[in-house]
Amino acid sequence: MIENIIMLIKQYWHVFLLEGLRYTLILSAIAVFFGVLFGAFIAFGRMSDIRPFKKINKNKKKKGFIHWLANFNPVSWLCSVYTEVIRGTPLLLQLYLFVFGLPKVIPIEADYFFWVSLALACNSAAYVSELFRSGIQAVDKGQSEAARSLGMNKSQTMLKVIMPQAIKNILPAIGNEFIAIVKETSMASTFFVGELMTSYLKVNGVEYLALEILIIVGAIYLALTFTLSKIVLAYERRLNSK
């Protein structure tokens, strides 16, 4: 078995590293980058204070339908529905949906790689939005009260007082999300987009050495996630020591 592994590495290292590892990293980076971007929007959508029917509750009732409608926030509602749907359905289903379903409604010419990246980004956004939300809500309420009492408006408070503190909670969590995504990209091999699991499929198709190839691919995943988690840990320590 050892000889087989050495042979496979010698003969196919470029497939594993230059193709597999590279695409895994690219996919993960795209997913996390847009995931953070979309996720931030969703988080702020959920925490927004948009109540179009606010004026309806003239006599300030505290119960019943009128009270409910006056406090109804359609943006927040949509964002939480999105998060629940994404988090409540399997990623593989979402990948199928984006690769085979979406092109039928959205008429753009794009390859599988594009749809797979988009699916991963949209999936990640749901999780990242929760990281943002909990990171922001973990900041003591007294902080925003102090800022508001000084005459700062909501966005100044968010930008100058809340976010600088929340980011310390959020950044390490996003690092961990990146690690999770690295592993989840393996599902994209269903569509043969070139990441590490695809390189397993490719090499195995020629060599029929499933165990050996899986060991190699597994080792690459492990090296990658291990390194990343050490980086996140070191970063976290540095934040806490400040």
Binding site: K60, D140, G142, Q143, E145, A146, A147, R148, S149, L150, G151, M152, N153, Q156, K160, V161, P164, Q165
Partner: protein, 241 residues
């Protein structure tokens, strides 16, 4: 300067304020005392609309700030607030804590704001801590910083919400000293406090709140030495001062 008319506020089923009518005159120092859960803090937090009253009005310098048309941020600039738990900004230095609001809200130039801040920090003995992180301060220092942070906006009135309740006993004095100085300088102040001796000493008027209403009010001498309301008597007999 501040006038409240028939202020009501409840949290869920619990009615915390039951019709508060109060008038705070310019340069007046009003202490609010009373048992916990009596509505003192809620009343104070209504004054700058950190809590929105359910009904009633609050006039600040003639403007009804409970109106939805009012830009509350504008009026809050004129009302400094000091909190029980200091709420200093931990991600900023001592100096930046003071300069943040003037530079962000009033758009004052950084060096000008820093100059003014140093002057204020000097007044409360924190000048040499200016460049340290706000988290490195002791409780008493944090509260002095919080007072200076509010003063940097040059408010017309200061609201103190139990400013010494979260302090270690040996630090209470240094914070009360700062408030005393401020009050002597003519700052209109509303102080929610459990420090009866302090309330007696600095106040022009003492308000006793219990059960969501103002049960009694008067000069410190009237309230402390000759309370009329049985609840005031009962409360004062139980606290040491």
């Amino acid at each position: 300067m501040i006038k409240t008319v028939d202020l009501y506020k409840s949290f869920g089923e619990l009615q915390v304020l039951k019709g508060i009518n109060e008038h705070i005159a310019p340069q007046e120092v009003v202490s609010i005392i009373g048992p916990s859960g009596g509505g003192k803090s809620t009343f104070l937090r209504c004054l700058n609309m950190l809590e929105t009253p359910d009904s009633g009005q609050i006039f600040f310098e003639g403007v009804d700030i409970t109106s939805e048309k009012v830009d509350i941020d504008l009026h809050r600039q004129k009302m400094g607030m000091v909190f029980q738990h200091f709420n200093v900004f931990p991600h900023l230095s001592v100096l930046e804590n003071v300069t943040l609001a003037p530079t962000v809200v009033k758009k004052i130039a950084k060096n000008e704001a820093a100059e003014q801040a140093m002057e204020l920090l000097n007044r409360v003995g924190l000048a040499e801590k200016a460049n340290e992180s706000a988290t490195s301060l002791s409780g008493g220092q944090k509260q002095r910083l919080a007072i200076v942070r509010a003063l940097a906006m040059e408010p017309d009135v200061m609201l103190f919400d139990e400013p010494t309740s979260a302090l270690d006993p040996e630090m209470v004095g240094e914070v009360l000293e700062v408030i005393k100085d401020l009050v002597k300088g003519g700052m209109t102040s509303v102080i929610v406090t459990h420090e009866m001796g302090f309330a007696k000493e600095v106040s022009d008027r003492v308000v006793f709140m219990d059960g969501g209403i103002i049960a009694e009010e008067g000069t410190p001498d009237e309230v402390f030495n000759n309370p009329q309301n049985p609840r005031t008597k009962d409360f004062l007999s139980k606290v040491l001062y």
